[in-house]
Symmetry: C2
Subunit: 159 residues, 2 copies
């Protein structure tokens, strides 16, 4: 059933940041990510999903933990320039990702992944998925346990 | 510079849904995605990024446009069961994705992608990225224009 899944990968060296209530207008995402690119900050797991207020948005992403201070500083400057509300950071994160070539069109895969963590009372802080990868962000202290449970649930080797 | 980028892909056959203000507790993501999996609804682009209120979260994802009515019905039932606030849907979407094996560690790639759309005044409704793919969701009517601009900016062939 799960032959298309190749493994589980863990990354415990990142932190997560969100710039809150940015204007939802063309060019804003470019200014934010461009401002970080100028500082050679590598941005991963960019997420802009939903904001209940029309005209506003939140942009979330992860960076290497060592880049967090510079990231926050840069985002605070951008916040002031564009009139965003706040910059929020969470250092207590780890990415635990299920990786596979053929997960598209298999609704049970994501369900089983989330059930595996839910049954163990591991809270999922963030989620990002594509056809090739489903990433759950959990508290860093739970990453190894989460990876082991997923490995067992899907009968995998760790990548 | 951009040899690791293989192309731009467009998907105009999806709709986007968000279940708002779900309890941020273990097992909740499993119940939501599991409930849809039971109806054989294929869920793509799952995103759970940020919620300003501790203890709550939003989960957003895309489905085939033809699955939208069943998705909304299922989510409304789950909303009632778990005490979530609302189900929000947006049918006016298209995914425009930059695909490439080696985009990780290249901060300029995402910046250039967003600048290309921003300069054309194309609003980016949602963003999801991994090392292999950066997906921008735009209004469906702008998808072809967005893909062409990205194709030109990165000197690509469409996948
Ligand atoms: C909101 C939802 O993702 C919840 N945190 C869970 O772990 O299932
Ligand atoms: C919020 C931000 O993504 C904005 N919508 C943009 O297009 O740049």
């Amino acid at each position: 059933i799960y032959r298309s899944i190749s493994g589980v990968a863990t990354d415990k060296d990142q932190a997560c940041v969100t710039i809150m209530d940015v204007p939802d207008q063309p060019g804003i995402a470019a200014r934010i990510v461009g401002g970080l690119a100028k500082k050679a900050i590598v941005v991963d797991m960019i997420m802009q999903a939903f904001h209940p207020t029309a005209g506003l948005n939140n942009i979330t992403f992860t960076v290497a933990s060592t880049d967090l201070p510079q990231t926050i500083k840069t985002l605070e400057e951008l916040k002031t320039e564009m009139g965003a509300k706040a910059v929020h950071a969470d250092e207590d994160i780890a990415k635990v990702s299920l990786v596979g070539a053929g997960m598209a069109g298999q609704p049970d895969v994501a369900a089983r992944l989330f059930e595996t963590l839910g049954a163990a009372k591991i809270n999922i802080k963030m989620i990002s998925s594509s056809e090739m990868k489903i990433t759950c962000v959990v508290s860093r202290g739970q990453a190894d346990k989460a990876a082991k449970l997923i490995h067992d649930a899907f009968e995998l080797e760790k990548v």
